[in-house]
């Protein structure tokens, strides 16, 4: 159960990084948003008795709102500005959690009620988000994003507004990350600030870039294999997980920079099937 639950949460998180990267934004603000909504969800359920569904809905709204507000300044910022804003927010939020006794500080927040059927709910939610992303990818906005990714000036000359699309994708990313935070809190039942660190960013980047950033499908097998499999490996091997991620990340960028599963590969596969 843990294997699938964790993998599905990571797929959600990887999708929240995938979508803004369609316009070259490595939007790590999603990780900070996840930290905020997971703790918010934890506090609302433990101290105020909120149930899962209203917490989830509120988290999506809060996550999207945080990203929307920040996107006004970084909606069309250079890639590395988006990167540093995201990582800085992660660092600030983590420090704030560590220094706030009400949130459990460095010890952590415990006693969050675990969902009765987390896998079914997570899977259903994943299908909804997956369908939503699929529709975006295959819409005019998705095609416009592909042009921005290839050449922003060309996109502008075609009448595409990169800032608007950047803001939209960052806002959706925040909403998805917000939901991932609540799912994580209600799945694990306890929260620790140390989870929301550079390691999480590194893991998500590994999932996105090894799976492939040109299509939304790549992160699914990547999350299952990279995040799920270490959970069933002996701890002596699993403790080297991040080193393996690092090696794989360097290797994939140096050999197949678009990742293992690409849009082109899927098209060819589809063509072959329809041909046969």
């Amino acid at each position: 159960m843990y294997f699938l639950g964790f993998s599905m949460t990571y797929i959600l998180m990887a999708w929240s990084i995938y979508l803004p990267y369609r316009v070259k934004h490595l939007h790590f603000l999603a990780v900070a948003t996840m930290a905020v909504t997971s703790y918010m969800g934890g506090i609302l359920s433990v101290n105020f008795g909120w149930s899962f569904l209203p917490t989830l809905l509120l988290s999506i709204v809060i996550g999207a709102l945080i990203s929307y507000l920040i996107s006004h300044t970084i909606g069309n910022a250079p890639t590395f500005t988006v990167v540093i804003v995201g990582i800085t927010f992660v660092f600030i939020i983590k420090t704030a959690i560590e220094n706030t006794d009400y949130l459990g500080g460095t010890i952590g927040l415990f006693g969050i009620p675990v969902l009765d059927h987390p896998l079914i709910i997570l899977f259903a939610f994943l299908l909804v988000i997956g369908y939503f992303l699929y529709r975006i990818d295959h819409s005019r906005i998705g095609r416009a994003a592909s042009v921005i990714f290839t050449d922003e000036n060309l996109a502008k000359s075609m009448g595409i507004k990169p800032k608007q699309i950047g803001m939209l994708f960052q806002t959706i990313s925040g909403g998805i990350a917000g939901s991932a935070g609540v799912f994580y809190a209600f799945f694990v039942g306890s929260l620790f600030p140390d989870f929301f660190t550079f390691h999480l960013i590194g893991t998500l980047m590994t999932i996105l870039f090894i799976g492939g950033y040109t299509t939304m499908w790549g992160v699914i097998p990547a999350a299952l294999i990279l995040r799920g499999v270490p959970m069933i490996l002996p701890s002596s091997i699993a403790s080297w997980r991040l080193l393996i991620y690092g090696v794989l990340l360097v290797a994939i960028i140096a050999t197949k920079p678009k990742g293992l599963i690409t849009k082109k590969m899927l098209w060819e596969l589809l063509k072959k099937r329809s041909g046969s």
């Binding site: 970084i74 540093i84 550079f198 590194g202 690092g246 140096a254």
Partner: protein
């Protein structure tokens, strides 16, 4: 009268404390300046975002510590540190050359690869070096106080950081603006393709930038180990974050902007440590940088690289 005198004394102490923090900040800022200079050099000439550069510095600090512990020979420790730093930088060159040579890849790919490299180095340090425990340098290496006035205390390591920082920066800018190698660097930074058309050896010059960044990294490792007297596998991550932030606040690849913002970060951080309790002090500098980045996403002094 008595209350007034007390107030003046207290004010004097506050001023002394502030000056002490600013002086500490200038030492730390000198290190940031050197780090950003090395980082920007790689960005401008090799066209890579080398997020793992501070990790190379931290591994070089481990090398300093290991040699000092084994032999207590300062000269050997300095030599080994510089050699390790140069070696690591040169070792990463084929990886980045391979990535930049792939059609369709851009600078983002080098950033992602350098994150991967950074993860590998952190894991190696946390699993294998000193059993993952932080290392501490001896008092002999860190050095004691050279000058004391009230609570203002100037240590030997602070003087090394200031003087070392000034010498290295002056030497670097001399190299960049007064020598043939510097001209080649600037030509590639200006336009890599035109530089190639004019027959500038891109590979050799790029290798030279790795070599100089490595040399610089070795000096930084020595100065940083003296200044903070300790290192841990996770030191590189927070330093890398600051270096990238400084570079973006200054404007990516803007060398002169990096000097100003690097020093400013050191001072702000040090003053914050003096006045704000606990780990909140670390956040102050980040919040200020975040505000600047959000207000001017392309940097204060303009980016040299898009």
């Amino acid at each position: 009268m008595h209350i007034l005198e007390e107030a003046f004394r207290a004010r004097g102490k506050l001023m002394e404390f502030f000056i002490a923090q600013v002086l500490n900040g200038l030492s730390l800022g000198s290190i940031y300046v050197l780090l950003v200079t090395g980082f920007n050099l790689m960005l401008l000439v090799a066209k890579i975002i080398q997020f793992a550069y501070p990790q190379f510095v931290v591994i070089s600090m481990y090398a300093t510590w290991a040699v000092l512990r084994a032999t207590n020979n300062v000269i050997l420790a300095i030599l080994v540190t510089i050699v390790v730093s140069i070696f690591l930088n040169l070792l990463s060159e084929p990886i980045f050359r391979r990535i930049t040579s792939i059609k369709g890849t851009d600078i983002n790919a080098t950033f992602v690869a350098s994150i991967g490299l950074s993860m590998v180095l952190v894991e190696i340090m946390s699993h294998s070096l000193n059993q993952g425990f932080p290392i501490s340098f001896s008092d002999n290496w860190v050095g004691g106080s050279v000058f004391r006035y009230g609570i203002i205390n100037i240590s030997r390591s602070s003087i090394f950081a200031w003087v070392g920082g000034i010498i290295v920066v002056v030497a670097f800018f001399y190299l960049l603006y007064r020598t043939m190698v510097g001209r080649l660097f600037r030509a590639i930074a200006e336009n890599r393709h035109v530089a190639k058309l004019f027959g500038i050896p891109i590979f050799k010059t790029s290798m030279m930038s790795y070599l100089i960044a490595g040399l610089l990294g070795g000096f930084i490792a020595l100065l940083l180990s003296m200044l903070i007297g300790t290192a841990s596998p996770w030191l590189g991550e927070s330093v890398a974050l600051k270096v990238l932030a400084v570079s973006i606040v200054a404007g990516l690849g803007n060398l002169k902007g990096g000097l100003f913002v690097g020093l400013a970060l050191g001072v702000v951080e040090s003053v914050a440590i003096g006045y704000v309790a606990g780990s909140w002090s670390n956040v102050i500098a980040f919040v200020i940088m975040l505000i600047v980045i959000l207000a001017k996403p392309k940097g204060l002094f303009g980016a040299a690289v898009e």
